[in-house]
Subunit: 229 residues, 2 copies
Amino acid sequence: MARARKAPEIRSAELLDCAQRLFFERGYDNTTVEDIIRAAGLSKGAFYHYFASKEALLEALAARLARDSLAELQPMLDDPSLGPVGRLNALFAGSQRLNVELAPQLRTTFAVLFRPENVVLFHRVDLAARELALPLIADLLKKGSEEDAFDVPDPLAFADMLLQIRLIFRDVMHRALRQADQGNIEEAARLLEERLRLYGVAIDRLLKLPDGTIKAVEPGFARAFLQAG
Amino acid sequence: MARARKAPEIRSAELLDCAQRLFFERGYDNTTVEDIIRAAGLSKGAFYHYFASKEALLEALAARLARDSLAELQPMLDDPSLGPVGRLNALFAGSQRLNVELAPQLRTTFAVLFRPENVVLFHRVDLAARELALPLIADLLKKGSEEDAFDVPDPLAFADMLLQIRLIFRDVMHRALRQADQGNIEEAARLLEERLRLYGVAIDRLLKLPDGTIKAVEPGFARAFLQAG
DNA sequence: GGCGTCAGACCGACCGTCGGTCTATAGTAC
DNA sequence: GTACTATAGACCGACGGTCGGTCTGACGCC
């Protein structure tokens, strides 16, 4: 086989790219190391030159994903023209915009990622995202509490709980996607949007804001996401 | 090898018993089918006669665990002398009592179950518990809302979120157990108990009750749990 | 004799290892 | 500047070991 040397960063990025595509198409367990190196045009030896194990590759991939997606939302957290409540709302608005933009790709990714047999993959990605997001959200809550924009007894613990609650959407989104696949987009959109709205209400209540202050969805988002592309 | 025939229910229960012990000692992935049948004194053939796969065994085990532990808490949910808030508090009190009673065994189980590499095992058990508990909690919230004991816009969705938030204790408990193992019981108990208290506050707020209404911990529980036995 | 129950040899998929090859670059001699 | 050598480290692919799962068939109870 023709040997093609490349810079290490390029190679490992290529391996991560291939792994990401395959993991999100078939899941972690259903992707073999053999599959990944075939896609990347490399050998077993090269693979284990870059990653200590298949698991280590997953960890690196999760970290990269978390870093990249958080970078997209960082601007909303830093926007000086917004107060704490405004930042939270901007965060949700930004994440909806991203979701709609990438809807076709995200839908297939989610459909795999949220399948029960892919817990390991899901959990790794969530863990990495959580580690990065937790201090940022905690800081937001702390600032907001100091400015009396809302009321939280313990910013870190409450940030932890907010991030935890969002995981109900693993199941909710999975159900919505299945329903949409069966042609029942209206029903699926209704379910997803209502649950997002209630998530907003939950946050309102946890922060002692009036119901409806935090808008986790704009009307029409779920429908746009489910049928975009 | 001497053949010993037994009633199917006995046999499958034996397999579940052995699997449970082994899974909770070493984790799911680190327990082989070989290990289980050796412990049960059975053959591969017998194992696959009772369970279609190792995964199916895990599912059955999770269902049995969920059923058993929910049965312990059922009385609190049915107690007619209590109002909705009282039932929630009784639920927490009952689960604390159980935790302290079984503390030594639960500690080692939790230590394994909550390790990151055992997500699959954890997730199965949680899923089974959740499926059984969700309708019961939703019903409790619905009743309580109808009686104006508290205020929830959507009992099912809110029950879902309450059950989701409790999963922060996978991580919190894991950290507390590690700390306690390193001799720092005081610090561990403080962390665990404070987080439980804040969980109670979170529920208060979600149900629009005054902070402190729901008592997810009695003072001293964490310490009792961490050093019992 | 037939069916439920069980034994254990066997299979194949995969992860990870290991000895070794090949190429780019640095250093050195001239 | 050129040629030659030495070193690093990117890369190869056959092989080993583990483990979930299958298959053939036997044993015992109705």
